[in-house]
Symmetry: C2
Subunit: 424 residues, 2 copies
């Protein structure tokens, strides 16, 4: 008899280092390649990647709704097209194969050698071919901070904010994998409010600490997904850095929203942690007052307790922890976001990416952007090397991490990391 894959008592016969983000209770999906092999689907455990293509070929994935091309693939999309049940059954099968109480794979040393690849021998690749990318704006603290800085502290939240999980469309083509460096964008900025705009490299380059979720295929155009149904349409989550050029944004964003301020790059972490693995870390979200409209009502716990952090690392320097936040602060949960997104009949597809929006917490050290942490440049951050930061400088690296912890089990995301290179 198999144990539930999230059971804290579950142990793998593969050694997992203490404090690893990737115990047997996690088993996130990703795409990797090695010096010897092309892109394929992998599952992470400890410091190893399980090669699902080889596992399939060796016959360990029989009686599941997958074929070779689902694993021998540059993206997870084909696998995700099997939906919640198919991907859940797959994770459950892997869990059983790695469970120390089961010997099917464990006992076959030759197979283990083919299937298990040390993490330092793989190159991670973009996990998903993203169809549409939507970004929300769902942290009340973030929206309040921005409103306080740029508008009226007494009326910081715009009138629609407590009614609508505000969102906008982003650029899918420029979503890139953790580790890919980014050139500082150029664009129109208006440093002197009384002079004409100029064309120059961005001066106020910022990160935004976010998580993102990846969808399964949704309903047909014209139909809606309710809050009760929403979780059936979400495959998993990753960390997300929604890079932002604040000075470009300030000048361009009225009246149709941010455009070039965002679409030069957005970075995602390589491992997609399934909603099944995150299930034990569900929690209550903030109270919603005024009462939301009927289509945004929901039952049960729909928020997630995910610890998030941001580190800033200057060139040749050490990491500086500059922010600790948590996804549980998010006012609008993912089920509400998805219900809102489809309430007008908008269709979602397998591989869509939906960002949370900047996740700021209630304290000054939990703000999810430099804009807020350095309060529009008025409170520069002091780094351990004695330098200061109002925004991100050339050759700075920004590293975001995230994990859940409960009953002695830690389920994490690894990291999303990128370095800012000088403008081209």
């Amino acid at each position: 008899m198999s144990v539930h894959p999230n059971n804290p008592a579950l142990k793998s016969w593969i050694e997992v280092p203490q404090n690893s983000d990737f115990p047997i209770q996690n088993l996130p999906f990703g795409i990797f390649k090695t010096a010897q092999s092309t892109e394929r689907v992998g599952i992470r455990i400890g410091d190893f990647v399980i090669d699902l293509k080889v596992l399939f070929v060796l016959g360990y994935l029989e009686n599941l709704p997958f074929e070779l091309s689902d694993f021998d693939n540059k993206y997870l999309n084909s696998l995700m097209e099997k939906g919640k049940k198919g991907t859940r059954d797959l994770r459950n099968r892997i869990s059983k194969l790695l469970d120390s109480n089961f010997t099917d794979l464990q006992k076959n040393e030759h197979h283990v050698g083919q299937v298990l690849i040390p993490i330092d021998q793989v190159t991670m690749c973009m996990p998903v071919k993203i169809g549409d990318y939507t970004d929300f704006y769902s942290s009340r603290e973030h929206a309040t901070n921005v409103g306080t800085m740029f508008r009226d502290p007494a009326n910081a939240l715009l009138p629609n904010w407590l009614w609508i999980p505000v969102g906008y469309h982003g650029r899918a083509s420029s979503v890139i994998l953790s580790g890919q460096d980014i050139h500082r964008p150029k664009g129109q900025i208006k440093p002197d409010p009384n002079a004409d705009p100029i064309f120059a490299p961005c001066r106020n380059l910022d990160f935004e600490l976010e998580t993102a979720f990846i969808t399964f295929d949704g309903k047909a155009l014209g139909d809606s997904i309710s809050t009760a149904e929403a979780e059936d349409y979400i495959f998993g989550m990753c960390l997300f850095n929604d890079w932002s050029a604040r000075d470009i944004q300030t000048w361009e964003y009225v009246p149709l929203g941010p455009f070039l301020a965002k679409n030069f790059a957005s970075s995602i972490s390589p491992w997609i942690v399934t909603m099944d693995a995150l299930e034990p870390f569900k929690c209550d979200g903030p109270e919603q007052e005024p009462k939301v409209l009927s289509y945004l009502e929901f039952e049960g716990q729909k928020s997630y307790d995910i610890n998030l952090s941001v580190n800033l690392q200057p060139e040749n320097g050490e990491e500086n922890l500059i922010c600790r936040s948590n996804l549980k602060y998010m006012y609008w949960n993912m089920s509400q976001q998805l219900a809102h997104h489809t309430v007008n009949g908008c269709n979602i597809k397998c591989g869509d990416l939906m960002g949370s929006g900047t996740i700021s917490g209630p304290t000054e050290d939990s703000y999810g952007s430099m804009l807020e942490l350095a309060w529009k440049g008025t409170k520069p951050l002091k780094l351990s090397d004695g330098t200061e930061r109002k925004f991100i400088q050339d050759n700075d690296t920004v590293i975001m991490r995230g994990y859940c912890e409960k009953d002695g089990v830690r389920v994490g995301f690894g990291e999303v990391k990128a370095k800012i290179l000088p403008a081209k």
Copy 2:
């Protein structure tokens, strides 16, 4: 020796009805199927479609950089990946095969019977698998009208408008083909400004008269496309109806732009008219004052003289011409739009769709939306059946058409048409 495919003197051995949008000088690309065949690439001439898959199989497309799967395909993307030169050579070859002075295909009655399909025997399909969809806001008259209605007539244009080809990201998944009906979207609206918002079907449903262009693969992330290079990255154009729910938009759009007000549906016409076919219809655009920033400067004619019209047809009624406009009114041309879009390093890909924004002209009968034509509901349009319209009613059909004409040659787009069904 072959004649230039745009030469007005060129005649085809296929009969083309007078005033057809599709003479031999056009030759637009699309995807079609028939009762007997699956989706494939076609080229339109007169009232016939040329089956490019069959033409390839019969050996008429030799010495071109294409293979069978480029034509035996659900989308044009594979063909478009051959870039400007490949697709131009292909159109030139078709032009020669259809030229009355060349007998290669013409003389082979059996082949002609296989290759030529009457238009009433085909079903048109989505021509392109759209990657990212961007919409611009490039008509000065439209932006001025909106600013006058909702803000200050004396300062109707926002400060950035004359500096930036303002654009925003739209939803690719809900771009649909002409002929597909659309259910009236539901969403949050705020009919009483002093009361809470309500959830209800949109009351102010509108069209937006636009054209759109389809891109080839662009440069790598981090690189930019100049105005001088832009045309090399554009495959062709179609008609585009950017359906808009004005009441949803008014409530949701601050501060991140339109979202559910737009992403319930956007309709495109099925035939992609190549930029090569449109070359003879280039013209000067509006004077740009103040002088644009250096990266938006351009040389030569970059605007296009394309006549556009909108007809509204009530259920079981006749068509009412409600708008005549022209793409030449557009302040920012497509080369400027593309240069702006990539100036921050944003990458474009094969199959991206970029909308012009509503194309309003200088006169009241040339405004490209109901919002402007009926001036925010204050000047209802009278239809021939005696009814009035402030916005689009259930079971109304909106039909947009477009064509160029010069030296006795008419190159057109056909139409984009959709009916609004009641809310689900």
